[in-house]
């Protein structure tokens, strides 16, 4: 969209969607396809797809930081991080048409049945008001929408009704090394599903192996939400970029949102009226916007009668271990994962009787563990060349020494919903429009730390079996977030302790829905985008039902 594009409000809109990431794009597309007038308001820019090769180069070349690729940072994106664990918010998200799917890895896994029932099964966390069976048809629809390449070879996956839309990517050479070691230990391995084309799909070609999936796919084979933004526009939706919503305005009775007030690049403020509103601005900006929209009727923030807006912030934690083998491991050809094991997801403490020791703790003492085999262990040769301080043959010798024999396992560990982990407003700092910035308070509890240690124990056991010299481990002391923002407008049936109902509508306002990962009640340890897409499609159906 050019700088002089029309950013005035639509005179008549059935639905106003805030945010053009995967949640907003899927909602907008589904509602526009059903014939409704849809306006999408996106805070960030519309990036030119022609620039992707340049962005890829920026990602590889050492002069540029991780926020440079998608132009995050500055006054627009100011934030505060308080509490025990620092949260690097601006490397954890992208603002723009397509949202964080522009820089995501593209891992798409369904939550397990137990993730919806942690309280009744294990006595920890909180049950969702819906279960896996309720979400199952939406998972299938989300897999078709995103274009998922996967196989039915994961014995630990929840039941599914149809094959994935595309065949799985075949295992890597190093997956085979891991499979052999795991087999000897009694650990089952399998392929992992990707939102990445293993063959042409939905107008995009198959992956060509640029190897820079995260943070940018130059070929467009990795799904990103620009696909559904464009599809929504083809169905008549209007998508405005660089129009950050400043606040939502409700009617005198406090029952309905009447307008979204947004700013334009030329400094004008407009109000977009609509019959229905859908917030889809991610797990940080969605609660922030509700808190910024406080009023006499809602002094603690819009839709916040429960006090739960911003609370129960969750992420996943990285656990990893790696080292060197005395043989070539063929790393850094592609930038995505093809194999792993979910054997310790529902049973993180279980031993195998064949080498993996059982943990001396109950299931309730752990969170889920997802384990993966990396295809890019060790340093990237091109990045090493560009940051080295040698020339010619000396450089080549150093690269030959550092490349070739690395091997590594990664993994995600879950975090329980805790009220003290939260997004609030930092009123001492304001953004480029004078609004208080989001403040993140985040910490790890004992269960997460224990589970990180357990994940490391399993990883080291596998690497030992493989014959690797373990040279690094990332556990509770060095872990960091996976950039999965969940839980900050939790779903529930009780309006005194949740923000949205099982139909994703806010308890407080009868025409306001929330799509995305903020309604998650628990986070499991699976990358959240498939689940947030399924929830968004569900939300869209409920909005359509109301029109």
């Amino acid at each position: 969209m050019s700088a002089d594009a029309d950013r005035t409000p639509s005179p008549r809109a059935d639905v106003c969607v805030v945010g053009a990431g995967p949640a907003g794009a899927l909602v907008a597309h589904r509602l526009a396809e059903a014939g409704h007038d849809v306006v999408v308001l996106e805070a960030g820019p519309r990036f030119d797809p022609e620039d992707r090769l340049e962005r890829m180069e920026r990602a590889i070349r050492p002069a540029h930081g991780p926020t440079d690729v998608w132009e995050m940072g500055g006054a627009r994106d100011a934030y505060a991080s308080e509490g025990e664990q620092f949260y690097p918010l601006n490397v954890a998200r992208v603002k723009g048409v397509g949202g964080s799917t522009l820089h995501w890895q593209g891992m798409v896994l369904r939550l397990h049945e137990g993730d919806f029932e942690t309280e009744s099964r294990y006595g920890v966390g909180r049950d969702w008001p819906i279960d896996y069976a309720d979400l199952r048809p939406y998972y299938a629809a989300a897999e078709r929408a995103l274009g998922v390449a996967g196989a039915a070879d994961d014995p630990f996956a929840p039941p599914r009704e149809e094959p994935h839309p595309m065949p799985a990517f075949p295992p890597s050479y190093s997956d085979g090394l891991f499979a052999e070691a795991c087999d000897a230990l009694g650990v089952a391995t399998h392929t992992v599903p990707n939102a990445r084309n293993s063959e042409p799909y939905d107008g995009a070609g198959a992956c060509v192996g640029y190897g820079t999936c995260k943070p940018v796919c130059p070929s467009g084979a990795k799904y990103d939400a620009t696909r559904h933004v464009e599809a929504a526009e083809e169905q008549g939706a209007r998508v405005l970029d660089r129009v950050p919503v400043q606040r939502l305005v409700h009617d005198d009775a406090g029952e309905q949102v009447v307008a979204a007030e947004y700013a334009t690049p030329d400094g004008t403020t407009h109000r977009q009226a609509a019959r229905r509103f859908v917030l889809a601005a991610g797990g940080v900006e969605t609660p922030r916007l509700l808190l910024l929209s406080r009023s006499t009727e809602y002094p603690d923030g819009l839709a916040n009668s429960s006090g739960a807006v911003g609370r129960y912030f969750m992420d996943h934690l990285f656990a990893g271990a790696g080292g060197l083998l005395e043989e070539r491991t063929r790393q850094n050809h592609v930038g995505f994962l093809t194999g792993g094991t979910h054997q310790f997801y529902d049973a993180p403490g279980a031993g195998t009787g064949a080498g993996v020791p059982a943990a001396d703790a109950d299931r309730a003492d752990f969170t889920p563990i997802k384990l993966e085999f990396l295809n890019y262990a060790g340093p990237s040769p091109v990045e090493g060349a560009l940051s080295g301080d040698e020339w010619g043959d000396d450089l080549l010798d150093s690269l030959r020494e550092s490349y070739g024999n690395s091997v590594a396992m990664g993994g995600l560990v879950g975090q329980r919903p805790r009220a003290e982990n939260r997004v609030t407003l930092d009123t001492s700092t304001t953004d480029d429009h004078g609004n208080p910035v989001p403040e993140i308070r985040w910490s790890l509890d004992d269960a997460t730390r224990r589970t990180l240690r357990r994940a490391n124990e399993i990883q080291r056991t596998v690497l030992d079996e493989l014959g690797a010299e373990v040279t690094w481990t990332v556990g509770p002391d060095a872990t960091g977030p996976a950039y999965h923002h969940m839980g900050t407008t939790r779903m529930g049936t009780d309006p005194t302790e949740s923000v949205v109902d099982p139909r994703l509508r806010t308890h407080d306002l009868e025409n306001l829905w929330i799509a995305g990962s903020s309604p998650f009640v628990t986070g499991g340890a699976m990358n959240p985008t498939l689940t947030l897409s399924a929830l968004s499609l569900k939300a869209a159906d409920h909005v359509a039902d109301s029109l």
């Binding site: 590889i60 070349r61 295992p171 043989e327 063929r330 093809t338 040769p381 070739g404």
Partner: protein, 61 residues
């Protein structure tokens, strides 16, 4: 002139810009392509659209 040890910076001083615009441009062209990466045994380096076959192949080819 120190272009081997300086940090590349497109907006930096003369040497930092030489490292960014000249040296690293050449190194990128070499090592983000099979021409340079194959010297290390890597047929499809980061930055090169070399397809989906090589990641599946073992060291014996």
């Amino acid at each position: 002139m120190g272009a081997d040890t300086v940090d590349p910076d497109p907006d930096g001083g003369d040497v930092a810009r030489v490292r960014y615009y000249v040296v690293n441009e050449l190194l990128f062209a070499l090592y983000a392509s099979p021409t340079g990466a194959e010297l290390l045994g890597l047929e499809n380096p980061q930055g090169h659209p070399g397809g989906l076959a090589s990641y599946q192949r073992g060291p014996g080819g």
